[in-house]
Symmetry: C2
Subunit: 708 residues, 2 copies
Amino acid sequence: MKYTSDNIFHMLNNFFNPKSIAVIGASRTPGKVGYDILKNIIQYGFQGAVYPINPSATEILEKKSYPSLLDVPGKIDLAVVVVPSKNVLEVIEQCGAKKIDSAIIITAGFKESGIEGAKLENELIKKAQELGVRFIGPNCLGMIDTHSKINASFAAGMPAKGSIGFFSQSGALCLAVLDRALPDEIGFSKFISMGNKADITDTDIMLALSEDENTKVILGYIEGVSDGRKFMEVASQVSKKKPLIILKSGITSAGAKAASSHTGALAGREAAFDSAFKQSGVIRAHTINELFNYALAFANQPLPQGPNVAIITNSGGPGILAADACDKSDLQLIPLYKDIVDELRSFLPPVASFYNPIDILGDSSADRYERALNTVLKDERINGLMVLLTPTAVVDVEATALAVANISHLIDRPILTSFMGKKSVESGTKILMKYGVPNYSFPEEMVSSLNAMYRYHLWINRPEKHYPRFNGLKEKAVQIFDTVKKENRDRLYELEVHYVLHAYGFNQPKSLFARTSEEAVAAAKGIGYPVVMKIISPQIIHKSDIGGVKVNLNSKKDVENAFFDITTHVRNIMPTAHIYGVMIQEMIPKGKEVIMGITKDLQFGHMIMFGLGGIYVEVLKDVSFRIVPLGQEDAHEMIRETKTFPLLRGVRGEAEADIEAIEKSLLILSQMAMDFPQIIETDINPLMVRQRGEGAVAIDARFTIGGE
Amino acid sequence: MKYTSDNIFHMLNNFFNPKSIAVIGASRTPGKVGYDILKNIIQYGFQGAVYPINPSATEILEKKSYPSLLDVPGKIDLAVVVVPSKNVLEVIEQCGAKKIDSAIIITAGFKESGIEGAKLENELIKKAQELGVRFIGPNCLGMIDTHSKINASFAAGMPAKGSIGFFSQSGALCLAVLDRALPDEIGFSKFISMGNKADITDTDIMLALSEDENTKVILGYIEGVSDGRKFMEVASQVSKKKPLIILKSGITSAGAKAASSHTGALAGREAAFDSAFKQSGVIRAHTINELFNYALAFANQPLPQGPNVAIITNSGGPGILAADACDKSDLQLIPLYKDIVDELRSFLPPVASFYNPIDILGDSSADRYERALNTVLKDERINGLMVLLTPTAVVDVEATALAVANISHLIDRPILTSFMGKKSVESGTKILMKYGVPNYSFPEEMVSSLNAMYRYHLWINRPEKHYPRFNGLKEKAVQIFDTVKKENRDRLYELEVHYVLHAYGFNQPKSLFARTSEEAVAAAKGIGYPVVMKIISPQIIHKSDIGGVKVNLNSKKDVENAFFDITTHVRNIMPTAHIYGVMIQEMIPKGKEVIMGITKDLQFGHMIMFGLGGIYVEVLKDVSFRIVPLGQEDAHEMIRETKTFPLLRGVRGEAEADIEAIEKSLLILSQMAMDFPQIIETDINPLMVRQRGEGAVAIDARFTIGGE
């Protein structure tokens, strides 16, 4: 693995554990960023040396100030840069001279502001690389580390110490998240505003956080990634170690438009990000609220070891809402063992509900909650517990919260709660949060958070993926691609397509080329009737659209007529097309038509697509994607992900299609994409899939080629 | 219209505007329900007479107490009943004697508690009807009216005066909603806990609230309805007048199980409720959070008159999140007119984003917000505005909130905001809420709320639905259904199906019945080759599953062979089946196969189903439903709602199918369902649809019949 997290963590040590910090551009004026940051560094308890740098001040906030970095006598570990953008390069030079290897560049006015800014940013990157200065930003809010008590940001406030590590491409989102976290004392370990990500990127931070012992959960907000491959590699590595929850915006066309005018990020395509997240174990949050909800669950509770959950509630309605939400999730509300139900009956009122959700009624005391919880937990099949409370007149919210918190500390199964309401339950939810039981305002949020944990449990326990390699295929096709490159074409000719597919082991219809009607008849005889005839011309791509294909030719006469029809017709409507002749092909008996292909995403590179062919792909757009390389499991899953998959299994007594042949074909396509990076697009459409064990035949295919 | 809202409003007047209230079962012990209710009535400012009824007290909470209702000297308008369940009937009798026509029965222990309770509830209903006492409950929390200052509930607190009317089947949900509303001072007009809905139902309350001038928005939580038809009729009527937002739980199998053990409600089927809500203009909330979010928008802002919206933000990230959410909604982020953009350019920094979302940057002052808003509003195509704010260091949250609130008061277009975060924005959001600008913690919630408003705008502006009636069809089929009833059958025979479809004007394949091979040949000749042969036996429903159907018979010999094959085969595998003979049918050329049918829902009665036939319905379950009677518009929409609809329009150069013929068939099925309430299930499968203008042919159909 190229990206070693401990190296990066070590490399970023001066950001998270500096012994001394200089603020270049420190200001004496409250309200100015250069003042706020300095003040934050001092007021939130940083223990090391702090050096304000200001050309005209001698002291700021009771710290001795220096005209330039170079005037500071001692060693400086971290430079926080707030000077105007035109002066940033000079400061970086000084950092080099002063052997400072870590900087946070708060200053805006770079890539996000237009062409001039982008130029400046490139110079900054170059200069910093030359001098060995790593930096966060530019155009960011700064960075917070609650454990080493550094608040090198201009945010108003310092989050509570905790185990959530957060990085964000949007500084505004940092502010909003921080502001929301503060009153509830939701604890963070690190808080990093990434800005333009000109040097230190999401992947660096993800790796560092995965190594950081104070961080249990990694949270991120991104609008795009610069290197999709690297992102996936790092995310896969990190997600095996810690939950990695990401909110990605700019997913839709409207969103993407906004994204391209913000931080200059190129928004990735939805399918690519979806696949990338799926393949690398990223837990995707769809709203800021979800990001928060998931983080609270992961930060505080152990993972459920299975899907079975129980709900205990003091009111029916919310219980039903929670059950509805379970039904839409992967969680399962199983009925409890009979002896557990019997025990519940021994102390609950007879009109309670002993099914799951277990309704212990509105007059429940904390004691009844406690007994019910302890009883239900005796059922060892229950992997997780959810506790609902509505503020009835008799319920003792605080005592119940304490009871739940106590039980939670004694078990290794997750407990999540939804004490509903606000004012009446506040004292209880504070207790719950304090003791690490995440509470949600609404039962639906509680359920979806536990579900995210269960899905993560599945992810970290899934077996290592198996990436088959197919050797010796590439060699036979290299020459074709070389020729195409030499001739500067962007498409493969019919015969080249045939040859490449052949090289990669795809079955194809028997085919013979014919230049005349007589040759066509001879070819048809050789192949055996019925046959298909297709026009061959370098100018004609969509043959059937212009009447260049005839099927089901059963006799000499059919072939002669077809030859005449096709050539005359094509000559009439495309007089300039150069007609080489026709291809006579074996007529393949109808099987299941599927489509598979390769496309290339700007950020993530090659992706493999799969779907049922014809109207299913055209009308229903029922396709699935994976990013190359495909593991055996990816091929397996992506076929089953389509809604039309049951058709391959066979409906109405049909035989099952050869699904294994499809899987293998997808894996081979993945290999092909790796072998030939110049492929921009490939469609095999249709691949005619026969019955189980009988393989598949590639009837038609297209290749579009670009530079490497 | 049977249900006149003003009558009901008037009838419920003593609930909402009583001049005197008696609390039967009033208690001297704080914490007891009989104490809490009395205290709530007194402490929240009820101006009329209050009579505690308690057999042993002389005074409670400084009010003179009476041993029985009958001892009270004055007139009593409203009785609040908190005595044990065994005494409730007696109290109702006293109400009758005392000419009290309105009661709230708080007491539990009725239907929700089992068989004995259900019996008691039936007696209660009977008794109350005899004596002319209308009641809310039993098993409820009570009722609140903020305008007449009545809090006849045992909830802890009184909501602020406002325009949201709320009714709930779950008392617990009432508590949770109330508790959440209190600190934010979200205003309610009425707050009604419905309990078991034994007398006064959801529809009564919906009608009353639609008439109540203090109520602008009606909110409801239901788990099931007793009379689906009435619900739809009332909801349609009410939703034309005021937004009616309902959270319905128990939608899934797990949820439904919980529902049947709560309040004894029978959970309606999801498809039925979905259709019912759609057809009667109910705005469906899917979570409690949505219920709140929508209510705030509708209660405070005017409806958008179109889909075009603009977003103004001081930060890119949240702007993108909002744009993403718009893209998933019916709202449209249109680019502004050039002169508007030019005007924005004249005062915004050059690196601002002038596209929509309009990013006015993190250093925005309240003044810049104000100018931007006013400028954007000059574009009259903008039907609604959304304002995002993240708490940057420089933003003046309060001044910005005031500016937005001021503008909101001057225009008749909706403004919604998302001032994100918590602590830093709190003072601003309080201002916004106070001046009626709904604020949302997250941009996604803001967008979905505005979208709900836009969809409601579409609903109230849609033209009156047109319900075609097809007369004279029923008469021809009455005899068939009479015979089936006489013979106590639950199925129509083949020939009866044929006759009924004929009566309702469905085209069918030419068919002739044949008992012998010779008759079959003669029939085939008469119809014209090719033909289809089907076994006719009252014991055989799924003919093709047992080899009872042969298609594409092209000659005398084919027919003879088929007759022999079918009869021998069927005799072999079903020796007890009584074989009448075979049906010889015209072979209909392939068209688009669709399926349509009638099913009967417990609560809502007959529903019409539509989908593309074969694998589309079997594998993809791509069907749509509407409740009978269907309007022309319903038939139109339900066809277009299916994902496979484009196949009817024609793909790959196919001709369009006769969609009008499908529409008419659906309407005729709806008529049939109304004509024959005894129909439990009908499938026409397949209906072979020809090209546009050429109609459709019902190839096969089934009818299942029950009691009326």
